[in-house]
């Protein structure tokens, strides 16, 4: 089956810093999403990005499907950005296989 790996596993930043989170997948995928999981467990949609680049405020994402990776950029980080970030891929009949996650902590 497909492997979805995220890096780094843990990240600690000072407020205002920028960061890049990476998602690598081992096979061709139909589509890809990025999520932020808040402390209460809710998964918040960030991007639906099978390919190309999208931006939403301080966040942007790029997926290079041919090279099997996606990047999530967070600029000018805020304490409210803390949480776990997941990428998830839609692969054949397997729907939304989740990556291993990046746990982000932003310090005030």
């Amino acid at each position: 089956g497909i492997q979805v790996e995220q890096s780094p596993p843990d990240l600690i930043l000072q407020e205002g810093a920028n960061s890049t989170l990476r998602c690598n997948f081992s096979d061709s995928v139909n589509n890809l999403q990025w999520f932020h999981q808040n402390p209460w467990g809710q998964l918040i949609n960030l991007f639906y990005i099978p390919s190309g680049t999208k931006q939403n405020g301080r966040l942007s994402a790029t997926t290079v499907a041919t090279e099997r990776y996606s990047l999530l950029y967070i600029s000018s980080s805020q304490t409210t950005d803390s949480g776990v970030y997941f990428c998830a891929v839609n692969y054949g009949t397997y729907k939304y296989i989740f990556g291993t996650g990046t746990r982000l902590k932003v310090l005030a």
């Binding site: 139909n30 467990g41 998964l43 949609n45 009949t93 397997y94 729907k95 939304y96 989740f98 990556g99």
Partner: protein, 111 residues
């Protein structure tokens, strides 16, 4: 527009009992997915329903089962509960093969 809703929010059961979790998808979404997230771990794919049929299931024993109703809502049943079934169960819905949206989850505790 209402999002994906799950009930109950919390559920406490005794080992050996059965648990039933419910999910109402976003209006117009025909696919429903179920995931298990044990404490501190990632999300594991459980089941996918589309148009009332089970389309795929993850690597879980048969005591995890479910169904999708004609209105596309879904139910997840876990029989013969074990302590390790304690987890956050998340449901998501999507239109055909498009962006998925998640509910707030049901936290199941087995004692």
């Amino acid at each position: 527009e209402a999002g994906v809703t799950q009930s109950p929010t919390h559920l406490i059961k005794t080992r050996g009992q059965q648990a039933t979790l419910r999910c109402s998808p976003i209006s117009g979404h025909t696919s429903v997915y179920w995931y298990q997230q044990a404490l501190g771990l990632g999300l594991q794919f459980l089941l996918w329903y589309d148009e009332g049929e089970e389309r795929n299931r993850g690597n879980f024993p048969p005591r995890f089962s479910g169904r999708q109703f004609p209105n596309y809502s879904s139910e997840l049943n876990v029989n013969a509960l074990e302590l390790e079934d304690s987890a956050l169960y998340l449901c998501a819905s999507s239109p055909e093969d498009r962006e998925a949206f998640f509910g707030q989850g049901t936290r199941l505790t087995v004692v």
